[in-house]
């Protein structure tokens, strides 16, 4: 018997729908949006936050220590996965990787941006093997080749993300500790291979599906690493942030702090903070919408990645609905699929990727025609795609909160016995107990999820108004197709959240 988590109550459905309709109508009728006011708060300027920020950014060892802890946990995941119990809910590999890390990672972006990338064990282990910094010397085992032009985009990361989703939901890596360990090993091998061939961190920038997902969502994070004084950067000729210094590595993703406008490729490693001779780089707080609304520059490959994120997050939710298996089973019968129904799943994944893209392309097509074809399709396609980012982000968080809050309760148990040796599967009584034993109350969870859906809609409308104003200043009500797209997508996400969700393990 499979347990399901209850969905968002109907009341919240009405509330969010009401909010969407009222606010959506307002956005059509409201005049030109006000100029964005860039208000940021340097975290080093306050006595309360200064010691903490300086502790983590000015010295190397706190970060190194954090990396070490994460690497130890990562190695424990591999050992537990390979040698531990195959019962998913009793093994640290599956519980820590899928219930805690994968679910919590997206939630962490909401507060800390791309902080995870700074302690990522794949990159840390690759770095220790390829470019170890030892007490007597710096060893470089990399060929330091230039990344080929055809790889310099986020297409590889998008393909990897689709592949990861296929493995996660289709093959069922999430319910197999052994497969989880294999996947972990594979990622380390890929990161190491990439670092051994290419200069800097090509894997992080172009290939890593987790890094790019975190990077794109970080556009909506309330924190950023930026210059304290832009004039200092403008006058800088040595560019230590980009080139590194004797003691500090260069920016792993080749960013120049003076011209940095978006978080997408920042890995939060803090090299720029430590290498800047003027101490002109710091963490600061900012409104979460600025980057998606104004600062982020549209690119063709990035537009596709954002659409991919939107499609894949919804797909994650869809596959955890009780009716998904019935759909797959019926489809498999029609096409003659059997066993794990991977062909049927792959078709489902493909359709789920295709539908949002087609819907978005149709929206842009209608928008363009309604506005007299003043702007090219490609410009509109890449310019307006930022509306999808908040929609995907808030649904992803709301969905992951279900896993984190409802399925993260067995963590202490698995840490006491990481390999799950001698443990039997969860009994029905234990499953029921876990069902009620949540990290926060169910009502609090519903409030957070409902508010998140409203927040995402508000951000998407803000992006629409500002980006729309810049691309099509006279559009007015002719922005309706995009508004309908936003309402449709958010409405679909809301509907998914309101359905009971199958408990993963």
């Amino acid at each position: 018997m499979t347990m399901t988590h209850p969905g968002l109550p109907e009341l919240w459905g009405y509330l969010v729908w009401g909010f969407m309709l009222v606010f959506g109508l307002w956005s059509l009728m409201a005049g030109t949006p006000h100029e964005l006011q860039r208000r940021t708060l340097n975290l080093e300027a306050f006595c309360l936050t200064r010691p903490l920020v300086q502790f983590f950014t000015r010295s190397l060892w706190p970060l190194w220590l954090l990396k070490l802890v994460v690497v130890i946990l990562f190695l424990l995941v591999i050992v537990a996965g390979l040698y531990g119990s195959p019962i998913a809910e009793r093994n640290l590999a599956t519980v820590l990787t899928w219930n805690i890390w994968w679910a919590g990672l997206i939630v962490s972006v909401f507060f800390l941006g791309s902080a995870w990338c700074a302690v990522c064990p794949w990159d840390t282990l690759a770095g220790w093997m390829v470019r170890p910094r030892l007490w007597f010397a710096r060893i470089n085992n990399s060929l330091d080749l230039k990344v080929p032009r055809y790889l310099r985009s986020v297409w590889p990361a998008l393909l990897m993300f689709i592949g990861l989703t296929w493995l996660e939901l289709g093959v069922g890596v999430t319910t197999s500790p052994y497969a989880t360990a294999l996947l972990s090993l594979l990622m380390v091998v890929l990161a190491t291979l990439s670092m051994a061939l290419f200069r800097n961190r090509a894997f992080c920038r172009y290939i890593c599906p987790v890094g790019r997902t975190v990077g794109f969502y970080s556009q909506l994070a309330p924190v950023e690493l930026r210059p304290i004084d832009a004039d200092v950067c403008a006058a800088c000729t040595t560019l230590e942030c980009y080139n590194g210094s004797d003691k500090v590595d260069p920016c792993p993703t080749q960013l120049v702090m003076g011209s940095l406008t978006q978080n997408t490729y920042c890995t939060s490693c803090g090299n720029c903070v430590r290498s800047c001779p003027q101490q002109n780089v710091s963490w600061r707080l900012r409104p979460p919408s600025h980057e998606a609304v104004a600062d982020a520059r549209p690119h063709w490959d990035e537009a596709w990645f954002m659409l991919g994120l939107l499609a894949l997050t919804a797909f994650h939710g869809l596959t955890m609905m009780p009716f998904w298996e019935q759909w797959m089973s019926a489809f498999a019968q029609q096409i003659g699929d059997s066993g794990q129904l991977l062909v049927s799943f792959s078709v489902g994944l493909f359709i789920s990727l295709l539908l949002p893209v087609l819907l978005y392309a149709l929206t842009i097509f209608v928008l363009r025609h309604l506005n007299g074809r003043q702007v090219g399709f490609r410009s509109l396609f890449t310019g307006m795609v930022f509306i999808t980012l908040p929609l995907a982000f808030v649904y992803h968080i709301a969905h992951n909160l279900n896993h984190l809050v409802r399925e993260g309760v067995g963590l202490v148990e698995v840490f006491m016995n990481p390999l799950g040796s001698g443990f039997a599967p969860l009994s029905m009584a234990e499953k029921h107990q876990r069902h009620f034993d949540m990290l926060i109350s169910q009502d609090a969870l519903f409030v957070i999820q409902g508010l998140l859906m409203m927040f995402g809609f508000w951000l998407a409308i803000k992006v629409l108004r500002h980006r729309g104003q810049r691309l099509l200043p006279q559009a007015g009500w002719r922005m309706l197709p995009v508004l309908v797209f936003i309402i449709a997508v958010n409405g679909f996400h809301l509907w998914l959240l309101m359905q009971p969700m199958v408990m993963r393990m």
Binding site: M1, T2, T4, I78, L82, Y83, P86, I87, M129, V130, N141, S142, L143, G172, T175, S176, Y178, A181, L182, L185, L186, V188, V189, T192, L193, A196, L197, P322, F323, E325, Q326, W327, M328, S329, A330, F331, A332, Q333, Q334, I335, G336, D337, S338, G339, Q340, L341, V343, A424, P425, S427, M428, Q499, V502
Partner: protein, 200 residues
């Protein structure tokens, strides 16, 4: 590991009908994810856990259970198979033949017949005892409506030896690093020779 045994006709028509049917379908009960092993305790909690795999093939839903979930060499175990028609729920009546082969690396993969069993009380039961640790594949073969069906299921006896993935991962990393080192040395040599030529 699993063999599709299906007819593949009129696919576009069927897909269209199915898509419409899916869009109009109502919520139904959930069950285990098809084709993936699940572990559970039996109703009587004093018994050891069992492994269960649910799958579908052709017109049949097939559930395969192993008792105990983690059998050891020399220990008696049992395979239970439940097979019922997807459309009507009727239980399969024809006998099932169970075969086994070793799924390990560099081993003899000849299939051996474990036995042929008739349905009893809706269940096909096949006992087994393995002498050695290892990964095995159990194949269940039966005929229904004049069509042959064949399904493979994994069976692990004893602890699995898991040095292979770590060995492959470490081996490939070492191989890459050694190759990079050789290329780097060649590069250095070439540069030195070039410098010497330039100086001359």
């Amino acid at each position: 590991m699993y063999y599709p045994v299906k007819k593949f006709k009129n696919i576009f028509y069927r897909m269209t009908v199915l898509t419409l049917a899916l869009l109009l379908s109502a919520n139904v009960f959930a069950h285990h994810v098809l084709g993936r092993p699940a572990y559970s305790l039996n109703e009587d909690s004093n018994t050891p856990p069992s492994m269960q795999v649910e799958t579908q093939i052709g017109k049949y839903f097939v559930t395969y259970m192993i008792f105990p979930a983690f059998p050891k060499p020399g220990e008696k175990g049992r395979i239970n198979i439940y097979a019922s028609r997807i459309d009507s729920g009727d239980t399969l009546a024809s006998p099932i033949t169970f075969l086994v082969r070793n799924d390990g690396w560099f081993v003899d993969k000849t299939e051996e017949v474990l036995g042929t069993q008739d349905v009893y009380d809706g269940v096909y039961r096949q006992g087994f005892v393995f002498k050695q640790n290892g990964s095995y594949i159990i194949t269940a073969k039966f005929e229904a409506d004049g069509e042959p069906y064949s399904i493979d299921f994994p069976l692990q006896i004893g602890e699995s030896t898991s040095m292979l993935p770590i060995g492959v991962a470490l081996g490939s990393i070492v191989l890459v690093l050694v190759a990079v080192n050789i290329v780097q040395r060649k590069r250095l040599m070439r540069e030195k020779i070039q410098d010497t030529r330039n100086d001359a």
